[in-house]
């Protein structure tokens, strides 16, 4: 059943990461991504790995669940590593066969790249997606971008669109399931045939899905108007974002993180790329 797919994969909890302000977490995540690309040496990678494990531990999200977010990317990670092994050149030739040359640098680079992607996914998922509801995330984006309102960027409308999209994704997934079942019951075959046949077989699913999505959009627009929606002006909010103690803690953690990476790069530059 596809309907249990939840966008953002929020995993409820009460950790520091859960309680921190989504804006702080968003900024922290950006910092985390940027810093990952500054890491150059083995010591640096070891430090970031330990740091990420630390994040996973304080988030309270079970390791099994965290690793689940890596699974869809396993192929990309493997492919990146694979390409880097063959494409990177260096000084220490380890293996040669025909046009294939494998260098020690290639292997190291491949390992670092794979580790970087892995850490990126794990770090982002515990710092953001597993510990922040999609709604809070949207609010955070709206708040952080709100200075742009002054130059007439429709920040509120954008955030509203995000919210609605997130609200309707599970509904539309469920609907796709139902339509597929209905057409299968009429003998539709989505598996066999060539590419053209397969594309053709999708028409009886896509058309009803679009028709229904438009109908829903129409209904929703009327329902929103009836609930007195007229854009972002004059609106209040049930939940307002506040920075708190947890955000200070997050700030402290970030400082340690940045300092750690700089120190590793400067003082322990062994096996670096």
């Amino acid at each position: 059943m596809m309907k249990d797919v939840t966008l953002g994969q929020y995993f409820g909890g009460n950790s520091v990461l859960h309680r921190a302000d989504p804006r702080a977490k968003l900024l922290f995540s950006l910092l985390y991504i940027v810093m990952l690309f500054f890491v150059k040496s083995a010591a640096g990678f070891a430090f970031v790995t330990l740091f990420t494990v630390f994040l996973v531990l304080i988030s309270g999200v079970p390791v099994k669940i965290v690793l689940r977010s890596v699974r869809p990317l396993a192929l990309i990670i493997a492919l990146t590593a694979f390409l880097n092994i063959f494409w990177t050149t260096g000084d220490t030739l380890l293996f040669e066969w025909g046009f294939i040359h494998i260098y020690l640098e290639g292997i190291i680079f491949a390992l670092f790249m794979a580790l970087r992607i892995l850490l990126l996914v794990v770090g982002m998922s515990v710092a953001l997606t597993y510990t922040t509801t999609p709604l809070a995330l949207t609010d955070a984006i709206e708040e952080l971008l709100s200075p742009l309102k002054k130059v007439h960027v429709p920040v509120h409308d954008f955030a509203m669109m995000m919210t609605i999209a997130m609200r309707f994704i599970p509904t539309l997934i469920e609907e796709t399931d139902k339509i597929m079942d209905a057409q299968k019951a009429r003998g539709a075959d989505f598996e066999s045939g060539g590419l053209v046949e397969k594309a053709k077989a999708l028409i009886p699913i896509l058309i009803p899905l679009f028709v229904s999505a438009f109908k829903r959009a129409d209904d929703l627009a009327v329902a929103m108007e009836c609930r007195c929606y007229r854009g972002g002006e004059g609106r209040t909010k049930l939940k307002e974002l506040h920075y708190g103690k947890c955000d200070l803690l997050l700030l402290a953690i970030s400082t340690v993180f940045v300092a750690g990476i700089i120190l590793c790069n400067v003082f322990l530059p062994y096996i670096s790329i």
Partner: protein
């Protein structure tokens, strides 16, 4: 004396499609709904009953005649603020529970209307909690709407309207897509809103068993008001209702069938208790 909340005088509405063909959805209807009244609008699909609902909330504006809702005259040149005022007074619950919930969390959705009204946060918190308690969905406040049953979603939609504190709620076939349990939940909520909170209710439906619960029924057929009266008065005319594609309660139908075969009764009850009393009285008198 209750004062009128909705007054329709010779109200008409004409749809024009892309080819320029026009259809008269409402052909000059007149009726009044008093403040605090619970009125069911009964009619088959395409009878014009949903058009009526859309006019009350300025989704459509009248083609002719006059419509007054809560003191506001509805017309096509209303300013945005005037429309806003009407919508604050008249809440609307639609048919498809999935297509009216905006937010990904139940309480956020209930807050959507009050947020639009610019209600201060402390008061909003209270309104949201009260509304959720009124419909019995408070325990589900942190859930995601798509994980709820149809009846629960519809109750969340109702809470979203209640939190705006309107004077009147229009239910536009809000039970049509629900299973019996969901329908019962929603009907119970509607009755509570009317009885305990004195809210004016207009319930548009094609289920006669729901219409029976109202104080008064307006039967709409072919763009006209076909009957206007208490449930008992309206269901007295079994043949007439059948002609316009509607059902009557089975007890009433049975009594009607018997009277067609020459057995006379003094009254035309709609609930089975009264039907049974009359039938037993007749039987015992003969014995």
């Amino acid at each position: 004396m209750a004062e009128p909340f909705i007054i329709a005088e010779n109200l008409s509405y004409t749809y024009t499609d892309e080819d320029g063909d026009s259809t008269d959805a409402l052909k000059g209807v007149s009726f009044t709904v008093n403040a605090g009244e619970y009125v069911a609008v009964l009619g088959h699909n395409g009878s014009g009953k949903s058009t009526l609902a859309k006019l009350l909330n300025v989704i459509l504006t009248p083609s002719g005649g006059k419509l007054t809702v809560g003191g506001h005259v509805i017309h096509s040149e209303m300013s945005e603020d005037e429309v806003f005022d009407v919508r604050r007074d008249v809440g609307m619950v639609f048919q498809n529970p999935d297509n009216q919930l905006v937010a990904t969390i139940v309480e956020e959705d209930v807050a959507f209307g009050p947020e639009n009204l610019g209600i201060p946060r402390e008061e909003m918190r209270m309104r949201v909690d009260d509304a959720l308690k009124t419909v019995g969905m408070y325990e589900h406040r942190a859930n995601q709407p798509h994980r709820l049953s149809g009846g629960q979603k519809q109750r969340v939609a109702i809470a979203g309207v209640i939190a705006m504190m309107p004077k009147c709620i229009v239910f536009d076939e809000s039970t049509a897509m629900l299973d019996p349990r969901g329908r019962a939940e929603v009907m119970q909520t509607i009755r509570r809103l009317n009885q305990d909170f004195g809210m004016t209710i207009l319930h548009i439906t094609h289920y006669m068993d729901e219409a029976v619960m109202a104080d008064r029924i307006l039967v709409v057929n072919d763009g006209e008001i076909y009957r206007d009266g208490t449930p008992k008065e309206v269901f007295a005319d079994v043949e007439g209702l059948r002609r316009v594609g509607l059902d009557v309660p089975q007890g009433r139908e049975l009594m009607h069938e018997l009277s067609r075969s020459g057995i006379r009764f003094d009254d035309k009850p709609i609930d089975i208790e009264h039907c049974a009393e009359l039938l037993l009285a007749k039987y015992n008198a003969l014995k």
